[in-house]
């Protein structure tokens, strides 16, 4: 067999169905050595199912898998790893209390007799890190590393295991721009110099063009496009993903801006936030941009009362407000859309209705007893107004798509009487079509309901496209206020990154 010519990975006519759903039908995909292939598609298009089949977690109903020209008869997770495939998931499977070296060698620590050979483990880790150009101490604990560095640890782990095909499942969803740039450099280096084949899954179309050589588009479980990335432009790619022409990505609007509703004066918290002063007016959408660790979430959480402040003041609707708990925040007309939908926002195992009224229990109750009529009315009103797509209010919220889950969280704030919405990464992890819906929703809330929206985001195009003004944060401080129409990505980045 002339191994130099066979592709690293070949999937042929993979099909998979679950009760009631044809998740994949006849999907084929080939990745050559050294190729970086983007895999894109809306949520529910079948990307995750395909990756799970590739990793051996699911068994396909039909189809072939070939790695380096060799057919894989019975894929199992351990077998695929042994054949040189590594999947790096968005939610990293790491042991946070262990060191970098321990994580890298997890399950296969070098031994000398019965004892673990720590010296070799550390030296080996160091060698791999050096080869990859990572600046990570093998003795550091994983929990003390940034998300970007943790991702690098996973890549190092894949290299130690001699992985020749690496699947990256939405790595950038949790990374800031500078970290993404670093990750991309590493991916390119591994592909070009070491011949590693990559499958790169992302919701961010800019990245697809920046990084990938080729792209496969999945839609409704079928591969609808397979070609060179350079032959497409973003609009064509979106059209392929959603199967229809999208209008402008960002809704147009003419804001009606009213009086000041929120003003912070030199707000600080105990660790990161320093003297942050911002102003927000009724009907306005204001962006909060910064790299990860800039203090965006901290500012929102401190205003809301979810994190304690160590100095400075907040004025709400023209009066000084002493918000110390989320309970007080909600009572004062604030609403927080938390950064991590699943761990901070949703009650995953509970119903859609339960999730919508969770912050407004008093409004649907009489003397502590929940009125079923009031609850139903409140839930139905929000489902209709925010256009939550759900079979009913009784189904578990975890069954909904990412975009609709996010709408449930919007609905919770609106139901609780929110007038100032603090939205932390409102479009994280939702697909292109749903993003547009969330933008529409934000605009609608701001214009027809006179809400003021303060939106933290790490996606610069989104901040520039949607917001009226924006504040740039860096190292816990608000360093610059800019008009979104009067600035450019370059100017914003020049304030966000180190001067």
């Amino acid at each position: 067999m002339t191994t130099g010519q066979t592709p690293a990975l070949r999937l042929q006519e993979i099909s998979k169905s679950f009760p009631g759903v044809q998740a994949l039908s006849d999907v084929s995909l080939t990745v050559e050595r050294g190729e970086i292939r983007a895999l894109v598609g809306e949520n529910g298009a079948g990307k995750s199912t395909l990756i799970k089949i590739l990793s051996g977690a699911y068994i396909a109903d039909a189809g072939h898998i070939e790695l380096f020209g060799e057919a894989v008869a019975h894929p199992t997770p351990a077998g695929m790893i042994a054949k040189g495939l590594a999947v790096i998931y968005q939610e990293l499977a790491q042991a946070p209390h262990l060191t970098v070296a321990e994580n890298i060698f997890l399950g296969q620590l070098p031994r000398r007799g019965l004892r673990i050979d720590w010296a070799t483990a550390r030296a080996e880790s160091r060698r791999v890190m050096d080869r990859l150009g990572f600046d990570i101490d093998p003795a550091a604990r994983v929990q003390d590393l940034s998300v970007a560095k943790r991702q690098m640890v996973e890549i190092a782990k894949a290299m130690v295991r001699d992985a020749r095909i690496i699947v990256l499942d939405e790595p950038s969803a949790v990374l800031a721009q500078a970290e993404i740039d670093q990750l991309f450099a590493i991916v390119r280096q591994l592909a070009r110099e070491h011949g590693v084949a990559f499958v790169y899954i992302s919701h961010r179309l800019g990245e697809v063009f920046a990084l990938s050589d080729t792209v496969t588009v999945l839609r409704d479980g079928k591969a609808v496009h397979d070609g060179r990335s350079a032959d497409l432009d973003p609009r064509a790619l979106i059209r392929l993903m959603v199967g229809r022409e999208m209008g402008d990505v960002y809704p147009r609007r003419t804001p009606r801006i009213g009086e000041v509703v929120l003003q912070t004066d030199r707000l600080s918290d105990r660790d990161l936030l320093r003297d942050a002063s911002i102003t927000l007016r009724k009907g306005e959408i204001v962006g909060l941009f910064g790299l990860s660790g800039a203090g965006r979430s901290e500012l929102l959480r401190t205003v809301f009362g979810a994190a304690s402040r160590s100095g400075g003041g907040v004025q709400l609707f023209g009066a000084p407000a002493d918000v110390r708990t989320p309970r007080q925040g909600i009572a004062s007309g604030l609403g927080l859309l938390p950064e991590d939908r699943k761990t901070q926002g949703l009650f995953l195992i509970q119903s859609v209705g339960f999730n919508i009224v969770a912050a407004s229990l008093r409004r649907i109750a009489l003397r502590g007893f929940i009125s079923p009529e009031r609850e139903r009315a409140a839930v139905n009103e929000q489902i209709q107004q925010l256009r939550v797509k759900t079979p009913s209010a009784e189904v578990q919220v975890q069954g909904l798509s990412g975009g609709n889950q996010q709408k449930c969280l919007f609905a919770r704030q609106v139901a609780a009487g929110c007038r100032v919405l603090l939205a932390d990464e409102p479009t994280r992890g939702v697909d292109v079509g749903a993003k547009r819906e969330i933008y529409d929703l934000l605009v609608e809330l701001a214009s027809t309901r006179d809400l003021a929206v303060l939106m933290a985001s790490s996606e610069l195009p989104e901040v520039l496209g949607l917001c009226d003004r924006l504040y740039v944060m860096r190292e816990g401080r608000v360093v610059k206020e800019l008009g979104a129409r009067q600035t450019s990505e370059e100017e914003v980045m020049s304030y966000a990154a180190l001067h």
């Binding site: 039909a62 309970r327 761990t343 109750a365």
Partner: protein, 321 residues
């Protein structure tokens, strides 16, 4: 080469949630009536119901605690202490209402201590309640001075609570019914009940939704311990003596009832109705083993196995979800 084909199950039989429990109960009842002709004897059934009431109260209390994704290991000790304290106070001649109020208050205080430990000092519930389990057993032995406490002749009327009949039905069943009704209303129809489910399914989301999570966490321990104390009083009046060594292992019984009843150990899922079913299953199994002449030693083996089985079934169910 073709990949092996996974057998896709035909779409699951669409049963209402929790139906499995009642089907299991029905099968168990039929099997029991085949094992022993005495099972369906009305006197025996009432006896089974009395057991259901005694253990079911604990199971309902534990359901509150587990719904908020905690565990309370101290309830067995609270049952013993509440009984011994009640016996001692009766012996000293205090009127029955005072005795009942005292025992319930002390039980609630122990729950409050657990609640403080878990919700304010952030001690893991397992450790906190293990500590109070041992402490309470100590208080129990101190009050009992090491041996059984005879409540004395004045307590005759008190024994009616656990051993008597009303309209030919054992009185504890009425107490249990009242506990279930109130608990069900609290959990399903009040904002407080809603906060328990919220805190149990995602504490951070509950906090950010403006729910006072410390209060909710605190309250479930008080409720669990209050119901354990109530159960202790019923045990006392049934046995007519305060036994400081009683109640051992009852916490496991309570946890088993909750888990068989469909309460998820990871919190946020479960119901009073389920706990009733769980208590029935456990009581019928114990009863039929007795009827079949199985020794108490072998019964322990069976009970332990049931706990493991219940948790395994729960794990399988949550994997499917």
């Amino acid at each position: 080469m073709r990949l092996s084909t996974e057998h896709v199950l035909p779409s699951k039989l669409s049963l209402p949630r929790g139906a499995g429990l009642w089907i299991a109960l029905l099968i168990l009842a039929i099997a029991s009536s085949l094992v022993s002709p005495h099972f369906l004897n009305p006197a025996n059934l009432l006896n089974v119901l009395r057991q259901v009431a005694l253990y079911g109260i604990l199971g309902v209390g534990m359901t509150f605690v587990i719904l908020a994704r905690w565990i309370d290991l101290s309830v067995g000790s609270v049952v013993a202490f509440s009984g011994v304290l009640g016996a001692r106070l009766l012996q000293l001649g205090y009127p029955i209402p005072t005795v009942v109020a005292c025992s319930l208050a002390v039980g609630s205080l122990i729950g409050a201590f657990n609640g403080l430990g878990v919700s304010i000092w952030h001690v893991p519930a397992f450790i906190m309640t293990l500590g109070t389990m041992v402490m309470t057993r100590g208080f129990d032995l101190m009050v009992a001075r090491g041996g059984p406490v005879d409540p004395g002749p004045a307590a005759e009327r008190f024994f009616w609570l656990g051993g008597g009949y009303l309209l030919r039905v054992p009185t504890p069943i009425y107490v249990f019914a009242a506990v279930c009704l109130v608990s069900h209303v609290v959990l399903s129809h009040t904002t407080f009940g809603r906060t328990i489910y919220a805190v149990g399914s995602n504490e951070e989301a509950a906090r950010l939704s403006g729910i006072n999570i410390a209060f909710t966490n605190f309250s479930v321990f008080v409720i669990g311990s209050f119901l354990a104390a109530l159960s202790g009083l019923i045990f006392l009046s049934r046995l007519s003596v305060g036994d400081p060594n009683s109640g051992n292992g009852l916490e496991l019984e309570a946890i088993t009832i909750a888990v068989i009843g469909g309460t998820s150990l990871s919190g946020g899922e479960g119901s009073v109705v389920g706990a009733v079913g769980g208590a029935m299953i456990l009581a019928i199994i114990a009863n039929v083993l007795n009827l079949a002449g199985v020794t108490t030693f072998s019964q322990q083996v069976v009970k332990g196995a049931i706990i493991i089985l219940a948790v395994l079934l729960e794990a399988a169910r949550s994997r499917r979800a």
